[in-house]
Every structure is written in C-alpha cells, then in structure tokens.
Symmetry: C2
Subunit: 439 residues, 2 copies
C-alpha cells in the first residue's frame, strides 16, 4: 500500500485551525478557575465558538460568569478568530490572482504581482499594523471615558475588551444588558460604532482609502462598499427611529437625544457587530424583520464581519432592479458586473437561505418557541451577529449544539463557497448538456 | 410627432390579459346575484385573483357565500387562468427555441421545427385535448362517488367544480372545511391527488410519457420531474405521518387508515394544489416548516402549478451537494447541467426569496399576528398554493391587497424571469468589467 499524504484545500485548512482554536478555547473556559460558578461543557464550547467566530451569542452572562482569566481567554479567541479570518480572506483573494484594482505602489498589489513569501509576509504585517492602530485608537478613546469612572485597572481592561470585541465585530460585552447603560452616551456610541464600521468595511477598502484618498481613484469594490455602507446604515437608522419611536419598551421611554443615539447604534450594529443598547426582544415585528435582513446581509468581504456580505447583496439588488426594468447589463459606477460575479452572489444567497431554513426547521423540533425568536437566533448565528431576542439562554442542549454548528458554518461557509466558485474551472466535458426548464 | 405603437413582451402581454381577466372576474363576482349576502369589493377581487391565479386562498367561505352563478364564474376563472398559463409557458418554451428533447414524430417537436401558425395551433389543440381528457376522467370518477350521495344535479356539478379545481391545482372547495370530510375516503383522495399530480407534472412531461412510454427514452426534464416528484412526495408523506402521528388536533384523532390517507393527501397537496383534509393551523411547527418548503418549491414547469418549480429546486439541491463534495459538474441521469441552467435556478430562488421577504415585512406592519401565520400566508400566495393557517379571513383590507399582489406576482414572476433570462443576450460591451468580492 502506498502512503498517501492528506491534502487540505485552504478552506479545509482554515476550518481545521478553527476547530483546534474552538476546542482549545472550550477546554480553557471549562477550567475551574475560568469561571465563578461551574458551567456545562456545552456552554463552554458555545462561548468558545461564539468568541472564535466573533459572533457574540451567549447562553450565560459573560461578565458575571467568567473570572478575569476566562474573560481574557474570550478576548484572545475573539482577536485570533477575527484577525485569522480576515487574513485568510485577504490571502485567498491574492491566491486566486484577483485584480484588486489598486496602484502598483500599493503593498497588496506588490504581493499580488510577486506572490513570494516576502510579499505575503509584508501584507500580513500591514494587516497586523492596521488592527493594532485601530484598536489602540479605540482603547485611548474608551479609556478617556471609563478610567475616570472605574479607575485605571478596570477602566483600561474594559476599554481593551470592548475595543477588541467591537473592532472584530464580536458583540460580547461585560455587562448583562450588553451596552444598554450607554444608550445615550456619545463617546461609547461613537467609538464602538467607528470600530465596528472600520472592522466591517474590510481590510482592502481601508487600505485602498489610505493609499488613494480621492473617491474617484478608488477601486469599484471600495466605492461600492463605502457608498452602500453609508446608504444602508442611514436607511436602517431612519427606519428603526420611525418603527420604534413610540414603542414604550424601546425608544418610547428614552429622551429625544437618547432616541437618536439608540436608533443610530441599533441601525449600525445588526450588520454583524451584534452589540445592543436597547432590548431586542421588545422590538416591533417590522423592526425585527429589518434586523433579520441586516443580519443576513452582513459586513464587507475581507472584514471581521459575517453574513452574505454587503457587496453580494448590492449585486443582487442591482440584478433585481435590472430585471424589473428589463435591462440586461448590471452597471455600477461605470463598470459592468460580469455574470460570474452575479452567479457567485446568487449562489451565496441561495446556499445561505438553504442552511438557514434547515437550521430553523431543526430548531422547531428542539425548541418550544415561536418562529420569530428561532429564526432570529439562527440568522444571528449564521451571520455571526450575536443579537438575540433573549433566546440564547433558553435554548435546549440540542438547540445550543445546533447553534454552535451554525456559527461555525456561518463563518466558514461563505468563505469556502467563494473560494470554490472562484477556482479556475477545469474544462472536461464528459456528458452532453441536458435541458431543464426551471421557470 | 410620430405615432409609436406600444409593443408588449410576451410576459407583459400575459400580465395584461390576466389583469383583464381578474378585473372582469371581480366585477362579475360583485354582482348582486353572484352572492347570497353582499361581499366587499376587496373580497370580490381577492377571490377573482385567487381563482385566476389558481391559488385557492379565500377570505370568505366560497360554498356558502356565492350563488351558483358566482361559483361558475370562479370555476371559469380557474379553468381559463390554469390553461392560459400552461399554454403560455409551452409557447414561451417553443418561441425560445429550446430543445425539448422529444422525437421528431412528436407534435410539439413539429411545432418547434416549423414555428408556423399551423404548428402552434396544433400544439394548443393538443393541450386542450389533454385538459379535456383528464378532466373528463376526473368527473367520471367523482360522479361515481358523489351522484349516489347528492343526486345527479348537485353530484355532477360538484364533481365538475372539484375536478377543475384539482386539475388546475386551484385548491378551492365548496365545503367550509375544504375536503376535510373526505379525510379517509379512498376515491376522493385518489382522484383529487391524481388530478393534482397530472396537472402539476407539466404538459411537456405528460406528452413525453405518452409518446415515449419507456423511461430510458424520456427527455432529461421528464425523467427528473417523474423521479423527483416521486421522491419528494414519498418523503413529504412519511415526514407528515411521523411529525403529526400523535398530534391530537390532526392525525392523532384519526383511525389508522385515515391517518395514512391524511398524510398521503397532505404530503402531495402543498406543492401548489392547496387542498386540505386536516386543519392546517393545528399542525406542529416542524410540519409547517416542511409545508413552507413544499409550497415554495411547487410543481413542474409548463404545469398548472406555481412555486419556483421542482426542477429549479432539484438543480439547486444537486449544486449544493456538489459544493459540499467539492465536485464541479452537476450531472443528472448522465447529462451535464449547464451553468446557465444553474444560474437561472439561482436567480429564480433569489428573487422569490426577496419578494417573499418584502411581502412578509409589509404584512408585519398591517397584521397583528405571529411570524408563522404571516409567512405561511405569503409563501402560499407566492406559490399560488392556497393553504392557510386559517389566516386569510382575518387579514386586514391592506393585508388582502398585499396578498392579491403576491398571488399575481407569484403567477407572473417566475414565468417572466425565465423568459427574460432565457432571452439571447446582446453582446454590447460598453463598460469595462469591474471586480467585486462577494464572499
Ligand atoms: K458579531
Ligand atoms: K393552488
């Protein structure tokens, strides 16, 4: 018998690393000195998966359950998981030889043209510098707010934890009501949302912005990300403000300025950040529907966020508008979107919907709850968002295991799908084409 | 100024005819002698749309509300709407010059090769013959059951009405509990489901079967339709039997043989027939989820049914399995499924999901109900199914108008989409290609 070495595709390799990371995290979080009171194995692995996939769903209150050691484990899982996926996504983009559309002097382009070890190392180094600078800035601003209130040790630590959680779009907070106590606080609102959006735009966009500065010179991808992030966020903020204005359990009870901050925060956070300053379970049904959509759409490619990705959504929206208008070519910013890109977008949407449907159906067996809380939990897990209608603590053990799988699939799935669809196709025609009518 | 004649695309033409049909139907149903007691304009147009789109949703009880005249109007709307769409779908297939994969001697193929007026007329004549024979058989069998029970006049009329409703997959019944009183009746169960399936397989499959007889000789489309109809129906019947076995409000209260008949009937009917012999609102949540899927999937192309179509679903299932296995080509019955077909399938799935989402969100504004009854109603309307969790009578006026639009879109949308995607593309490249990362 010949010895056959096991070969991994890059996504399989990433999945393997993630499984190791989650397992290590789960073991560490189950250690006696990681928690104030004992937690179950399932909860330990749930929190570990939720942190490593930068989701933020938690069946137990993180702040009161874990010791400082446990919290630091969670923080590290978030940081490693967040950066890991971001770096992987960037590397896949390079390996596939995509045109990223930046000028030669750009380091990413260099790595692309000289796919040498040196180029890749420089690229990853730049990614780390980007993360470090953004998180340093986040900590500095939060320290200014929290150190006067909590003292140096706790203030610095809380600033670091929530900066890492926010930049990596992880949605974990050390307060039982997440960030609700800061509903009207300008500094916390602005710092957290800025970190969320910087992390969620994606590495390539930020670098493009840094090197090009003028909008006209940006790549199509960056232009689309910037404009659509702005439009989607503004629309979401306005919608939430209007839908919830007179809801006594959410915006209704707040002052005028708190109302604006809460709508602002809650409009930005569903696209995979997962923090909340108002009670999600108390939202009106139309608002929950809007949040389902935002959670499903998610953040940018090569970002710390999840979901089908904003560009996927935009391509499909343009395709639908074209279809209604009877136009054939999708043109965005004077660029034609190739059919292959639309194909990729439709595939991601379809497979995501299928997974969400299957997971929701499984949970209707294991959980005794209405469709909305179940679907909300599933979409939140699949988009690695972390918002919940306070349903996570009430999940059955089987339900928790299902959600663990969905968080994992939600993080790996879209990346793997893009990777496999983007692979250059081998042209081996063995069977004649068959005709199927599908309308 | 030059006079410019208005040109319609075939789908626009079909939509126009439908709008005329629905308007005429609504006006007729609002006539004083059409109803026993006065109905609202919205209800008249709701029933007219529901009948013409062969859906079967009804905010009022058809049997007790309408006079014989009103019921005959409904019956004619069903027959015209059902055959009309079927004929249109077949004509589109021909006009687009698709290979239907049948032998020369087949009349459809003749029409395809000689797209003369004569060929098309012969084709449509065959369609009419097919409908006439199937409905005649349906009436004969039902007459054998109902004439002894109800006498000649009522028995014959009820047989005709329910045959037309069943063959056209329209889901209307003249009893307030739909067909629940026949839950254990073999004749009604078998006749209705046979009509449903014959109408739902699609005209091309039935003709292919008629001319080829041997499975091996059938076209790929026919093979896929026959095998997947069998598999999906068997799985659905088994699932409903297991899920509902001990539910006291559905199968639990029935005898052993009634249980089997009820599961059999309810497993077949959600793929756009829309009849029911058990109470839909009392079903378990997993069963409702399964029905959502079946209603969404629907029947066959060029059939009387709706939904995204069974072949669309099968192509996507194969694509997902391929993706998980890491295989690239979709091969069904030794035929390669071209990427264009997958593209079409993904487009239909995506745009359908978008419409359903938007409609559901709109209804969360207008209706005060949980997500499940609302979503169930929307999917039922979009797939022109007609099943409801007894929610149609409780819809607000605005809600009814929304559902009217969804039924219309559900009937026109997929046809239009297939038509426009199948059109030969003009190759005019004005803008350079742009790159978008969508993963
Ligand atoms: K998150
Ligand atoms: K129907």
């Amino acid at each position: 018998m010949m010895y056959k070495p096991i070969k991994f595709t890059p996504p399989q390799f990433l999945a393997l690393i993630f499984i190791c990371l989650v397992t290590l995290g789960g073991l560490l979080l189950k250690l006696p000195f990681a928690t104030e009171k004992e937690i179950s194995w399932i909860d330990a692995f749930f929190i570990s998966t939720s942190a490593a996939t930068v989701t933020g769903l938690a069946p137990i209150d993180v702040g009161s359950t874990f010791t400082l050691f446990g919290e630091i484990v969670i923080m590290l899982l978030i940081q490693i998981g967040g950066i890991g996926v971001m770096a992987f996504a960037v590397l896949v983009v390079i390996m596939l030889g995509k045109k990223i559309g930046m000028k030669q002097r750009l380091l990413m382009q260099e790595a692309l043209n000289q796919p040498s070890l040196g180029g890749v190392i420089r690229l990853v180094r730049n990614l780390f510098i980007f993360v470090f600078i953004m998180e340093l800035l986040g900590v500095i601003f939060l320290v200014a707010k929290w150190v006067p209130e909590m003292g140096w040790t706790k203030g610095l630590y809380y600033s670091l934890f929530h900066t890492i959680a926010a930049f990596n779009n992880a949605g974990f907070a050390l307060w039982p009501d997440n960030l609700s106590r800061f509903v009207g606080d300008p500094i916390v609102n602005l710092v957290i949302t800025t970190l969320i959006m910087t992390g969620g735009l994606g590495f390539t966009v930020v670098f493009d912005l840094y090197y090009q500065r003028r909008f006209k010179k940006l790549s199509l991808h960056s232009k689309v990300m910037l404009v659509s992030t702005l439009i989607v966020n503004v629309l979401a903020i306005l919608a939430i403000f209007v839908f919830e204005y007179s809801n006594p359990n959410t915006l209704g009870k707040l002052s005028a300025s708190e109302k604006i901050w809460a709508a602002y925060f809650q409009g930005i956070t569903p696209r995979t950040a997962g923090f909340n300053t108002i009670d999600i379970a108390s939202l009106q049904q139309p608002t929950l529907m809007l949040m389902l959509l935002l959670m499903f759409v998610g953040a940018g490619s090569t970002s710390t966020g999840g979901g089908i990705k904003l560009t996927t959504f935009i391509v499909i929206v343009f395709a639908v508008i074209n279809f209604i208008k009877g136009k054939e070519e999708i043109i965005i910013f004077n660029r034609t979107i190739r059919n292959q890109i639309l194909f990729r977008a439709l595939a991601i949407l379809s497979i995501s919907i299928l997974f969400i449907f299957i997971a929701t159906m499984l949970l209707t067996f294991t959980e005794d709850a209405g469709l909305m809380p179940i679907l909300f939990e599933v979409v939140s897990a699949f988009g690695t968002v972390g918002l919940s209608m306070n349903f996570t603590p009430h999940l059955s053990s089987l339900g928790k295991i299902i959600i663990i799988f969905i968080m994992f699939l939600g993080k790996m799935g879209p990346l793997t799908l893009v990777y496999s669809i983007s692979k250059p196709e081998k042209t081996k025609v063995r069977y004649p084409d068959g005709e199927l009518f599908t309308g």
